[in-house]
């Protein structure tokens, strides 16, 4: 295990890094720039966008840890994409990098979103580097998509693509008629990115324990044996996709550990071992598309379920259905449930200060999407309600394309719940409106 405070690199170092990267991009542009205007088949391609993205909390509340800002997000962002293919098309690289000003934190930063090399030969596709991987069949409900998510981005109205966080690793895809396979190895662990307590009101079970002076994060180690491995085996039967999944790695949602239950001074976030086995089917049914998915989350670090700092093993199931209801109007519904194993042990070992999770938790979701004005206006609504947790999220959104290049997004997130510790209940004071103006090239 590797211990770290999670603090980011110092300002100067980061600025040097950004400078270095920018110079590289400028160099590439200078070298390849002239080719961009030509129609050479293999010319290097430069694309990306510039956007302003803002989100404001409209409840009038602001988290105690911060300076009273109503803004969850205030940023300007440049994204650049570079692609190049070898002449025979078998090899290529792709770089997608963001440079942004975070107005809430008052910092400038960059992030390599993706950066990989592809190689294709016969039945095999190899991709090595920083990449985004999406598996599973759910719409914002994840069972076999074991790859990192950025919930903070989603809850503060950033575009959907930012819900998925990249991993650094290698992926091999082998395509055979009988059974195809995707194999992924990720040497360095990447946790889920959660709403930040300096921007969001969040529930803290230790809020009454004023004795905590140190908060640490204990990430899985960077030992070869800690490499995360994921596999998807799939086959299309007609147009029906049948997939099997397996994953060996770690929970991306942290557990919390304290050095003493009665008088804690140190709080440590931990990412216990996790193995997942699952399957999914997507196909046509009743004039629409149906999907079912299931998975078993084997909590290797707490097989008995009596360690309150580590999640118990769980069964997870999802069923979804979407259909075109009318002209350019699509509706999607989902039902998700998870069942905890060893619930008795969980109940008996859970410290009294901790909120208790139900044995069976469930979520229902509804998505409506309507396209108007020759698909230049997209109206959508996404709602999640949990009958077990009695909490909800409502996300209406409108995207208007002023031209092929310029689009404007306006949306809102409304959170609520009966209890202050559930996923959406704890976000109740964070109802927000967000806007995004993007120029894409």
């Amino acid at each position: 295990m590797k211990k770290g405070s999670g603090a980011r690199g110092q300002g100067l170092e980061r600025k040097m890094r950004i400078l270095q990267f920018t110079l590289t991009i400028l160099f590439l542009l200078t070298v390849y720039g002239p080719r961009l205007t030509g129609s050479t088949a293999y010319a290097l391609d430069l694309h990306g966008f510039v956007q302003g993205n803002y989100a404001a909390r409209v409840t009038g509340d602001s988290p105690p840890a911060k300076n009273g800002s109503d803004y969850l997000l205030s940023e300007e962002r440049l994204q650049l994409e570079l692609t190049e293919h070898s002449k025979d098309g078998s090899a290529s690289f792709f770089i997608k990098s963001d440079f942004f000003r975070d107005g809430v934190a008052g910092t400038d930063d960059m992030e390599l979103r993706e950066g990989y090399i592809n190689y294709t030969k016969d039945l095999v596709d190899l991709r090595v580097g920083r990449q985004i991987i999406t598996w599973g069949t759910g719409d914002l409900m994840f069972i076999n998509d074991v790859f990192p998510k950025d919930y903070g981005a989603f809850f503060s109205g950033r575009p959907m693509e930012y819900l998925k966080a990249p991993v650094d690793g290698a992926k091999v895809e082998i395509t055979v008629d009988l059974l195809s396979a995707e194999l992924v190895a990720i040497p360095t662990f990447e946790p889920n990115r959660l709403p930040d307590s300096t921007r969001f009101y969040l529930y803290n079970p230790f809020s009454s324990a004023a004795t905590i002076t140190t908060v640490e994060t204990e990430k899985p180690g960077e030992r070869i044996r800690d490499t995360e491995l994921a596999m998807r085996l799939f086959r299309y039967i007609g147009s029906t996709d049948v997939s099997l999944y397996a994953y060996k790695g770690f929970y991306r949602m942290s557990g919390m550990m304290v050095n003493s239950m009665t008088n804690p001074t140190t709080l440590t976030y931990i990412y216990p071992e996790l193995t997942v086995y699952g399957g999914s089917i997507t196909g046509n049914i009743f004039g629409g598309v149906g999907n079912i998915e299931g998975g078993y989350y084997d909590s290797a670090g707490d097989r008995m379920g009596d360690d309150p700092t580590v999640e118990n093993s769980k069964w997870k199931f999802l069923a979804g259905y979407k259909k075109e209801l009318g002209s350019e109007l699509t509706v999607g519904i989902q039902y998700y449930t998870e069942i905890m194993e060893d619930y008795g042990n969980y109940e008996s070992t859970l410290p009294s200060a901790f909120p208790k999770e139900e044995r069976i938790r469930s979520y229902t979701t509804l998505r409506l999407t309507k396209m108007l004005l020759y698909q230049t206006l997209r109206l959508s609504f996404f709602g999640i309600y949990s009958p077990s947790d009695e909490d909800y999220l409502l996300n209406p959104e409108a995207i208007y394309k002023l031209s092929d290049e310029l689009s404007f997004t306006l949306g809102g997130n409304v959170f609520g719940g009966r209890k202050e510790f559930t996923m959406f209940g704890q976000l109740e004071k964070n109802d927000n409106l967000y806007a995004n103006l993007r120029y894409q090239f």
């Binding site: 088949a41 694309h47 966008f49 293919h85 025979d88 098309g89 290529s92 592809n118 294709t120 596709d125 990449q131 985004i132 991987i133 999406t134 959907m160 693509e161 998925k164 895809e173 395509t175 195809s180 799939f234 299309y236 147009s239 996709d241 997507t282 196909g283 046509n284 004039g287 629409g288 598309v289 979407k322 259909k323 075109e324 009318g326 002209s327 350019e328 699509t330 999607g332 396209m371 020759y374 698909q375 230049t376 394309k401 031209s403 092929d404 290049e405 689009s407 894409q440 090239f441």
Partner: protein, 265 residues
């Protein structure tokens, strides 16, 4: 009496040439679809669509369209890769088309590296925001309409059959009937008019340029115009090639995620 027998003997000779040319309206539409949508065993084209609003404001769609026929007049598969506009760049789109049941459609979203199956029951919905519907791109099931001949007319220099097609199920369409002008010799539809349920002209299709490519007459420029709101879509098929031997493997999840370079450049 003698004359009656003579006439009776003559009847077959009178009927024969008639039956040889007496194609039904349904057969003529079938012939038109074969020429228009099933030309060659497969096809590759660079397609540029201009979506033009009444005020002249233009939007652009540029894609490579690959089609393979699995049965003449029957099942087909389409693979479409987008270059423009920027927000759909690198997206690929796949349709498995069956005349008698709902299509299968998948889309690949590069930013999420995700393949999704799309619910696709409405073939009258717009293709990529244009005036063309999915049905206009890949064809309407011939058995969904009652077809009848109208008078013959010229479109430009070409002699055409005019066919009226009335949907059997009115609920499934946004128009009440369609008139098609089919080139008698080349079988291509040179003009189509869609009439609203009130009887007004609603949409007009026109073949603006026809070229002979590898011996196949091809509509290389076409327009669909919405008369009611003045919006129109101009489509130009560039670099159209037939019988390029597209492999079945192109119509798979692998190709959606990682389109083979040789097909999309």
């Amino acid at each position: 009496m003698k004359s009656i027998i003579f006439y009776l003997l003559c009847i077959p000779y009178l009927i024969l040439p008639l039956t040889a040319s007496a194609e039904t309206a349904e057969e003529a539409i079938k012939r038109a679809q074969a020429a228009f949508l099933y030309a060659g065993y497969d096809m590759k084209a660079r397609v540029v669509m201009k979506l033009i609003a009444k005020d002249g404001k233009e939007r652009m769609r540029e894609m490579t369209m690959l089609r393979k026929d699995f049965e003449e007049g029957g099942d087909q598969k389409y693979f479409i890769y987008f270059y423009q506009p920027a927000d759909v760049r690198n997206m690929s789109f796949m349709v498995w088309k069956y005349p008698k049941k709902d299509d299968d459609r998948w889309i690949f979203i590069p930013a999420l590296n995700m393949v999704r199956k799309i619910a696709a029951s409405d073939r009258r919905s717009s293709f990529v925001g244009s005036d063309f519907t999915y049905e206009d791109i890949s064809g309407r099931d011939i058995e969904d309409d009652n077809h009848s001949f109208g008078k013959e007319e010229k479109v430009g220099e070409r002699d055409c059959l005019v066919i009226k097609s009335v949907p059997k199920d009115e609920k499934g369409t946004d128009y009440s009937y369609k008139l098609s002008w089919i080139d008698k010799e080349r079988s291509l539809p040179l003009k189509e008019e869609y009439y609203s349920k009130k009887g007004d002209i609603e949409k007009v299709f026109s073949a603006d340029e026809v070229k002979e490519l590898s011996g196949i007459f091809t509509i290389t420029k076409r327009t669909m115009k919405n008369i009611a709101n003045g919006h129109r879509t101009e489509v130009s098929f560039e670099k159209t090639e037939y019988n390029v031997k597209i492999e079945d493997g192109l119509f798979t999840e692998r190709a959606l995620k990682n389109p083979p370079k040789r097909w999309i450049e």
